[in-house]
Symmetry: D3
Subunit: 317 residues, 6 copies
């Protein structure tokens, strides 16, 4: 029985090696990539048994996604279907001024038809935490409804619900996002949100502390975690603030940093850590993630603790 | 001004190296692949200026397709659009008993919305030959209509129209194909069809000569080319039969063999060869194609002539 | 709860691409490879929940092995240890007259210290079948003892015990193998053995039927499956014979063929098939395995059934 | 009909991946690379129809060069010959203090025998701009003569002539270069020159403005563009100065930066931009080029405009 | 002090992976390749200390060639020069009817200027055997003269001289070859020649035995070895005939087969074997070579002996 | 006859490309890697004939190591044995905070059984310098004894003995190292030691000059070279100090930097340079090494001199 259950889309990520352009590439690297499976894996790697729920096409592409996720230790427990396709995205990594670019090809993915009745809701009810993100309801109206139902189901069973706002401007507008997402807030206990999105999507103002407190009090969240990239993270929890700096890191692949942060935060909270300690693990896991190619935080608890203890040397031999 | 104009979908073909499985691959090779662009390239390589018409998404994937096609010498002249996606297919090559397998992911490709008004019909009217295949009308009802219009337009301008039946059982049933395709036959001068499809899709009976003659007389084609895989090809032309064996070949990639055959046949016919001689070139080009990775016949006239003259040795140095 | 539990060593397999030589290779492909995990995976892929027991070093190499195995769906449930190393083998594939060659580097692997107390014996007792092979007791005297204990434990709990003789002449002599292995036969219900090993290691004589019957009656096996490479397999079961030809196959990687055969045989027997039908699935799975790079039968039930139904065409599109 | 016609050598560029040494590499990446084709492609990508003239061996290597260039949209219209070889260069990329190193193997390339009569001079006469660089006349005395003739022919037909001084110290000495190149200046309207070369090759003194003005007035150029690497570029045009900073960029491959700059400058001038605006596009295109592996600026107008508008974020999704 | 000294050109061999075409390849594999270094390495691998003499450009390409050769155990002792280039050839492997094709780019290689005074003739005089092939004098008139001088020098010092006729029709005509090569025959003790070349180049007639005897008696060779591809080899030695079949082999790369044969033959003769036994080693080494990618016979004495003893199984583990 | 003889273990280094994790890699790059062969190669590349002594398993892995080392010009003269394995290490390169990590798998390597009688001691006695490092005696008690004997043998024959302390905390504790290594100091003329190890392992205190002087006078070394990473190196020699800064370098692979430094220092000392000049070469060679993938300094004397003369530009063409 998993302590953490997550729900969302995982895509195939297709990307040229190094800084090659999609337009001229003759090979793509293939990886599984999705915010909610990233969160589950980060938590599992830190010792929290985790399950990822989704819906996948019953073909080699869907099996590839589930297989890769299980490799990292989680239970991938998707609904398998003959309808719908495997969502993909094409990723081109580049430095400034070109910048990293993403071409989404995720319309009509099998997951966009996922309804709450298709899932084993007992797993959800028995979990300690249920997590999904703002990407999921953005993908289809069916998914918006399913997201709402799953959050309510979890909430009503005493399962803590956690949510990363995860605004994607290639999926919807700030106004659309705000309308859909704020309607879910009632069923959410723990909100993770980028300060930028709190302002841009939720239309809030003020400094980080004000944003967190406004969210916490206005929507009645138990915990609000505000992420600010290299400026570190701030948590509001029962009226108190906890803060932690971002660790210095040599970035190889920034995608998935936020998910690693959130997965680690939830794992440590499930394990009984207070918010401060959980933030510290989250920051260290996020820093490690940035050194690893792909979306996924393939880390160990020892590595995270070494970052916290500042024990990493340049070469260990 | 191109002598041959073709129209159809070209996909991105994504395939693991060697005999790896899609389910476990960590890299995909990327190539442009489509029956009608394959035909245009085979003809261009044999000296016939050729243009491929289509509709592509105006993004790195669409540009990748057009760019790769231009590399082989043809003019890729697609309509560029902000709507619709780039069609893809995943290819897994394998020997028996696994067999080569294809996972199509081509629904809602940009090309499925292509209407005849979007194209420069002058190019079509001035070409010597216009070619498309039975895949195109199978892709959407819009495309079925566009295919009909383009064939009629060409036909009415004195452009010879050529058509490869190209039945794909992952796209439609034999009955659906028969209904749509036979309605086009009035506007078609040259039909290329696999003997297997003549029987299975068009519901004809008899030996190869009977199939060809029945098609020729019943539907009023100028030329019918019946392909029979390793058993060679048979053409019916004005009541006469011409035949040519398949050349022996060590197959590295069988995909696109029929397109190479058709492209070479049309190129030689445009150049003034009689049907017999054109069949010979077609068979030699098809044999060469099978030694080349990818869908495309990257050949030279000299190489084709060497095959015909049986001058190839094992090593030339 | 898994229906099949297997126990044995899984190595990292390091091999140059294609036919390159180890002596000059600049890259090795890396895969997990072990007879008993191969068997578990073949069974899991055909629908039998399976668990692989072993002992691995708690380092990135050990985690790589367990992670890759879980990707194929089984539960990898090794004991993790700070002692001992990850066993490896270097594989060089080549045609005749060079031949494929293996350099073992498996001495002092962590698994060689595995004792029966370290494992969850309940899993074994609750399984329908417990499987290991003649490689395991060859690896250390500790393992020989552990193998005996696990077989006895399973046997005494009513779990069917299955064993592949799997003689490796780089590990021990025929005489050593015979002495150790025949001492285990009492606790074994189902024996899989190559006809060649029945003669060479067990010192038996006669044709296939005689070998199988002699083994069955002399040692009291419930079932004896005699494998004869391309000559197919013969099973002796309760005094009756069942036979199945090998399917024709284009071999890309022969390693693991026998394990795929055995895994499929056990899966079908667990699912209730009679010996004849199980042999048919086993032969089809083995034929598919040979088309797949690596030790592991990454197959689906549909593919196996297509082989049996002879429905595979050259290209499916 | 192309608006821009360029003339020069394009080589095969062979380079080890990453920072490997040529001396120990087991694979070379292969790309087409030549200053004048680079300029044509940069211009074509920004919307100016462009043709590259040259002479190539009629073999797979020559075809590879022309094919790759056409992939980027230009018309590659080389003279094909049975004589002469395909020029190559070996490139080893490295950071300090090793530094990037080039081994030229371009002697006796087919292009070194190219005479003006071999080309379609109508294309030149009808173009808006004809471009070549100081590399071309350095390659052979025949090419020096051909360069002079083509520049004169263009000049006399009212085609604007543009020239990048492009001094290469592995090809000739400053004194040799000065003598040959200054003799061409009469036929040149637009000169692009590195400040370093203005001093070292043309033996001029003074600050950037003085260099540009001296060149402009002494040799009667219509426009002089002085490039100064990361210090930006300065143009003298009809007695006025225009300047633009270099954009910040994370360099992946510096080769071809100057060519991207010049191609963009010419494209925007052809399109009607004033010198200031053209300099801005040139600087942005050059900055993008440095993020792209290979010699060639595989960019889009949108990307260039984003750089100018400073709209690039780190990740766009 | 080496027992075998060889002299000739070694090129960089650049080839696309698998069956890709040079015209579209994005990577080339790089290997050192030359008949005379191939012969030296085959001999060294079988226990005969061997040295290869040549002339190489003192740049990373020349060092790459020498370094790779030393990796296989021989002493590469080239003259290093600032003049001339590194010869290369582009190799495209393909099955029928395309066939393997070679594009030479070896004109003006540094070795074409090698004069006998540049070499340490003591090494030649002290060797047991000196070997070169008909490729060497075909490369330049200087090399033709140097070849003659080195053969005479060796001959006069009592060093056995061996020569493989090695006709290459991309280098010269049969008549040119005949004139140059027969003039060298006086200084040659052991001639290796393909039956095809004996007929086509030397204008001889008759069956294999007649060809060998005619050569032996007419030109006074001590030994004549006639190779006939898959039909095996025949040696004429002091009026007697020795013959050996070719061993069955799965060919991965046929290039260098003849050189492996000759190197093994010479190694065994130097070691004291009679002609029959040496032919047997030569045939076995040649068969092994064909299973190995690249020009070079990376084999061991044990492997050769296993072939002779027919002890190779499909998999050894 | 080599001027420099070194003795020690060389491993196979297996590493994922780029920053991939060992746990998920599907390919490993393979290189030979050992401190003492690294030193020999750095010296050989700078013109000092060098030999590396060791003991290797007589299998493809052992031959791979020796072959790769000979490629760089040294004489690899190992004892070949049927006992023991090839030592390996797995290397994962990463930036902060992950850091580069090494998994050793070197226990029971063939070299751990090497005894002094197995080697040709004449080579040692005739060399100008004999070198080994503190890794060697850490590998086994046999090797500790052999190291002592070889150092004494060299010392007594007038061969200068050089030693790099090279402490590895994955092999032994500081106390164990101190006891074993200080017992060797009597036979050592030149000590190279990291300042960090002088403090941590040898338990010394003071600034760099004090450390060097204490070592020199207390243990009677002729020369002490203290390395301090990016802070440069300090040598104590006959009571005088010589110092040289580290050159600025863009690090691609830091492994082997110290060995490149030491090899260059010894080469220049053997060639007659004074300590100051040798330090300068050592620093320049070390800086170049860091730009080169792998353990080995594949450099040329010209490149080292360019670094010293500060003549390297960004691109040389
Ligand atoms: Ca698990
Ligand atoms: Ca599962
Ligand atoms: Ca790869
Ligand atoms: Ca074109
Ligand atoms: Ca599982
Ligand atoms: Ca590679
Ligand atoms: Ca174009
Ligand atoms: Ca063209
Ligand atoms: Ca590649
Ligand atoms: Ca040697
Ligand atoms: Ca050597
Ligand atoms: Ca040497
Ligand atoms: Ni779990
Ligand atoms: Ni994220
Ligand atoms: Ni902290
Ligand atoms: Ni064309
Ligand atoms: Ni086709
Ligand atoms: Ni014919
Ligand atoms: Ni399962
Ligand atoms: Ni097996
Ligand atoms: Ni059957
Ligand atoms: Ni254009
Ligand atoms: Ni440039
Ligand atoms: Ni600006
Ligand atoms: Ni030797
Ligand atoms: Ni040869
Ligand atoms: Ni024989
Ligand atoms: Ni040497
Ligand atoms: Ni070191
Ligand atoms: Ni200095």
């Amino acid at each position: 029985m998993s302590d953490l259950v997550t729900f969302g889309e995982t895509m195939l990520r297709l990307s040229p090696a190094g800084n090659e352009r999609i337009e001229t590439a003759s090979e793509f690297e293939v990886r599984a990539a999705g915010a909610e499976s990233n969160v589950a894996i980060a938590a599992e790697r830190l010792g929290t048994p985790s399950t990822w729920l989704s819906k996948l096409p019953d073909n080699p592409l869907g099996r590839r996604v589930a297989g890769e996720l299980e490799r990292y230790g989680i239970d991938a427990d998707p609904v398998w279907t003959q309808e719908g396709r495997q969502g993909t995205y094409y990723l081109e990594q580049a430095g400034k001024p070109r910048g990293t670019n993403v071409v989404y090809d995720r319309a009509n993915a099998a997951v966009t038809t996922a309804e709450s009745e298709e899932f084993d809701l007992e797993a959800l009810r028995n979990a300690e935490v249920f997590f999904t993100s703002g990407i999921t309801p953005a993908l289809s109206s069916t998914l918006a409804e399913t997201t709402a139902t799953l959050l309510e189901t979890a909430s009503q069973s005493g399962t803590t619900t956690a949510f990363d706002l995860n605004y994607r401007n290639k999926l919807w507008s700030p106004a659309e996002a705000r309308e859909t997402l704020t309607a879910l807030f009632d069923s959410i206990d723990v909100l993770v949100v980028a300060a930028r999105d709190a302002r841009h999507v939720l239309d809030l103002e003020g400094d980080a502390e004000e944003l967190a407190a406004t969210l916490g009090t206005e929507y009645g969240f138990e915990t609000v975690v505000l992420t600010r990239g290299s400026a570190g993270a701030l948590a509001w929890h029962g009226g108190e603030y906890h803060e932690h700096d971002a660790y210095e890191t040599e970035t190889v692949d920034p995608i998935g940093t936020g998910d690693a942060f959130t997965g680690a935060f939830l794992a440590r909270r499930i394990d009984g850590d207070d918010v401060s300690r959980a933030l510290e693990y989250a920051a260290a896991t996020a820093a490690l993630k940035r050194t690893i190619p792909g979306d996924i935080a393939v880390i160990t608890p020892d590595e995270v603790e070494s970052v916290i203890d500042e024990q990493t040397s340049d070469i260990s031999r």
